[in-house]
């Protein structure tokens, strides 16, 4: 009988070649945490990994529903995870190291669409290692770097020691603008406290709640900034960045009031159907008219997961929502959301 057991958390480590993914992986594996960790490695890394359970895999992407980009999943991971889940003394954790050029979308979607994978594993977080020294060179000409930053729950701005403080601040600001939802840590040789990268509950609705104060603050900051800096940033882009259209950005919306359930569901439905492939991640806490509970949700591309979590009580009913993706139309999103107010 397949008894319900706790699902095994999976951490995805992305980052451009040479950013320090393997260094981080080795750190996690060698630290004395007493955990049994299986590693799925997609790349013959720059540095060898001395660990018993390293499974090599070739990226095999397939589309579940005839050509829908949002249903792209990783067949190789499904196959490997199915075999790993057979063991009774299962692993405490699984780490997946992607190639520098990997799209995190299909990796993440695998954990929300494949029934067998969902039964045994839970995506805990996407950790992106960024080379602070060279990322400036890749921001504009490498789509994958922007995607990996956009998808991240945690970003390690690595090789801190190799850049000037001014350069560092600039890079960090740019990353925060692309993804204000992620926690950004400065590291040298990917040295980081493991509880900042493992067991972070990046896709867990309950945990999204734990993160709430920071999450709200970040969005509000982002929102405020935005009006002041938008024009300025825009000019800069016009001058330097001819890939502007494809840029990864975030749009945060913070609005008091109650939403109309029907309008909200129509708007979100249409949005995900038409713009889902450009939305990497989203999270939100919403106040729906006639509902005493807050509605929390999170999503990856077109896949959305949401539920009521707790009563608003004395707290002011307020909506907070954040989208991270490419080609996001800030005005349209704001207006669309506003139109959902009851």
């Amino acid at each position: 009988m397949s008894t319900p057991i706790s699902r095994i958390p999976v951490t995805v480590i992305t980052g451009f070649l040479g950013a320090g993914k393997t260094t981080l992986l080795n750190r996690i594996l060698t630290e004395k945490h007493g955990k049994r960790i299986a590693v799925i490695e997609n790349e013959f890394g720059e540095i060898g990994i001395d660990h018993q359970l390293v499974i090599q895999s070739d990226e095999e992407i397939f589309e579940l529903n005839n050509g829908c980009i949002c249903c792209r999943v990783r067949g190789d991971l499904i196959r490997i995870l199915a075999k790993l889940s057979q063991r009774r003394d299962k692993f405490d954790s699984v780490l997946i190291e992607t190639t520098g050029m990997a799209d995190p979308g299909p990796v993440a979607q695998t954990f929300f669409t494949d029934e067998e994978v969902k039964e045994n594993f839970i995506l805990d977080g996407i950790v992106t290692v960024v080379d602070a020294k060279h990322v400036g060179l890749h921001f504009d000409d490498t789509r994958e770097v922007r995607e990996q930053i956009g998808f991240a729950d945690v970003i390690l701005l690595n090789k801190e020691d190799l850049v000037s403080p001014e350069e560092f601040v600039k890079t960090e600001a740019r990353i925060r603008k692309m993804n204000p939802m992620a926690k950004v840590y400065r590291t040298q040789d990917a040295a980081i406290d493991l509880n900042k990268v493992l067991d972070i509950g990046g896709f867990d609705l309950k945990r999204a709640l734990e993160l709430e104060p920071d999450f709200l603050k970040a969005t509000e900051e982002e929102h405020d900034h935005d009006h002041e800096e938008h024009d300025h940033e825009h000019d800069e882009h016009e001058h330097h960045d001819h890939h502007h259209d494809e840029d990864v950005t975030s749009v945060g919306i913070s609005m008091p009031g109650d939403l109309d359930e029907k309008k909200l569901s129509d708007w979100l439905g249409t949005l995900l159907r038409t713009k889902g492939q450009d939305i990497f991640r989203m999270k939100g806490i919403l106040a729906v008219k006639g509902r005493a509970m807050r509605f929390v949700f999170q999503g990856v591309h077109m896949l959305m997961d949401g539920k009521p979590d707790r009563e608003w009580g004395n707290e002011p009913r307020h909506n907070t929502i954040i989208f991270i993706g490419r080609n996001l139309d800030r005005k349209e999103l704001n207006e669309g959301f506003k139109a959902c107010l009851a």
Partner: protein
């Protein structure tokens, strides 16, 4: 479970237990032994009638054993595992006759040719990663490595017994190693998990990652795609006459009539009795009965003419991972997710 007053009880013969999920179960060609393997790396050989343990190799493969195959003379057993190795064991003495690296950490597939290939005798095909290597009866390399672009999903010998069929996630490649001529390739749209050729060789079916089944008529290349399964179809078994194909992919078994022009346009017979998903199916090698096992641990036997389970009562304490009839069809061996091995008798 549906009540069925006419359900005959199955006779229990013996049982044994290894320590983890059972990944391999194979009858010796003579039907006097069974070999089983577990994901912890244990391999055991039992006397099939009495249940006596003849050999127990605690760590046949570090990190798990995934495949077993008796050499056609029944005197040796090939095993493969997650340590990147395949090994050949003397079934009487228990000694390792040969052991080799197979080319990837997970060595998942083993298949002996059912006919000898000239001087080489029977060949063993070993699938690991995106490679298949060939070995002779003594366990020496036959100097043949076939590389594929994707990971090997399934390996078997079909038709005359010298034709090697290999499924990767994107295609099935069929090559007669004796006859001249190009290999035939059947290119798949959805990633393949499992391949199954009818004994006649006419029909090729694959169970795919997206819960579909794809069918090729190898005579004329016609294809057909079946959707609507509740789960991935990893069980695709043929009745010896090549007419009936039984498939899992949910709690119900679907039996397709493949006579004449094949399953297209036909409605399968649905066999419903198990509660949880089907996890094992096997037709008697020389009879007509179909055995089934499910993730709820239940085991049943079906007659070809009736839609209700005919014999059951057997239950494994965890999910069934494999069922296999003895060559004469009188005994049914079953293995479970918690290491259980059961021998049942069907008279």
């Amino acid at each position: 479970m549906n009540s069925n007053p006419k359900l005959r009880p199955i006779a229990f013969k013996w049982h044994s237990k290894l320590n983890d999920f059972m990944t391999g179960l194979a009858w010796s060609p003579e039907g006097d032994r069974i070999a089983v393997a577990s994901v912890s790396g244990q391999v055991a050989i039992y006397d099939a009638v009495e249940g006596r343990t003849i050999h127990l190799f605690e760590k046949a493969h570090e990190d798990g054993c995934d495949a077993l195959a008796w050499r056609p003379d029944g005197k040796a057993l090939a095993t493969a595992g997650r340590d990147g190795m395949w090994k050949l064991w003397d079934a009487e003495t228990g000694k390792v006759l040969a052991e080799h690296e197979a080319g990837a950490l997970w060595t998942e597939h083993l298949a002996w040719s059912s006919r000898p290939l000239g001087d080489q005798g029977h060949l063993l095909a070993v699938g690991a990663g995106n490679k298949v290597t060939l070995w002779n009866e003594a366990g020496e390399s036959a100097d043949e490595t076939i590389k594929f672009t994707k990971t090997v999903a399934d390996v078997g010998w079909i038709l005359n017994g010298t034709t090697l069929a290999v499924a990767t996630s994107s295609e099935v490649v069929v090559d007669d190693l004796i006859a001249d001529g190009e290999a035939r390739r059947f290119v798949a749209k959805d990633p393949i998990l499992k391949m199954s050729f009818s004994p006649s060789g006419k029909w090729l079916m694959t169970g795919n990652q997206d819960c579909s089944v794809h069918v090729w008529n190898t005579d004329n290349g016609a294809e057909m795609h079946m959707r609507g399964y509740a789960a991935k179809v990893r069980q695709l078994v043929w009745h010896r006459g090549s007419r009936w194909l039984a498939a899992g992919g949910g709690p119900a078994i679907s039996v397709w009539d493949c006579s004449g022009r094949g399953p297209e346009g036909r409605t399968p017979t649905i066999l419903e009795w198990h509660i949880d998903q089907i996890s094992a199916l096997h037709y008697q090698p020389e009879g007509d009965w179909l055995a089934s096992g499910a993730r709820d641990g239940s085991i049943a036997v079906w007659s070809p003419t009736q839609r209700q389970a005919q014999i059951s009562g057997a239950k494994i304490s965890s999910g069934v991972t494999q069922v296999a009839w003895s060559p004469n069809g009188k005994l049914l061996a079953a293995t479970g997710e918690d290491g259980e091995v059961q021998m049942l008798a069907v008279e």
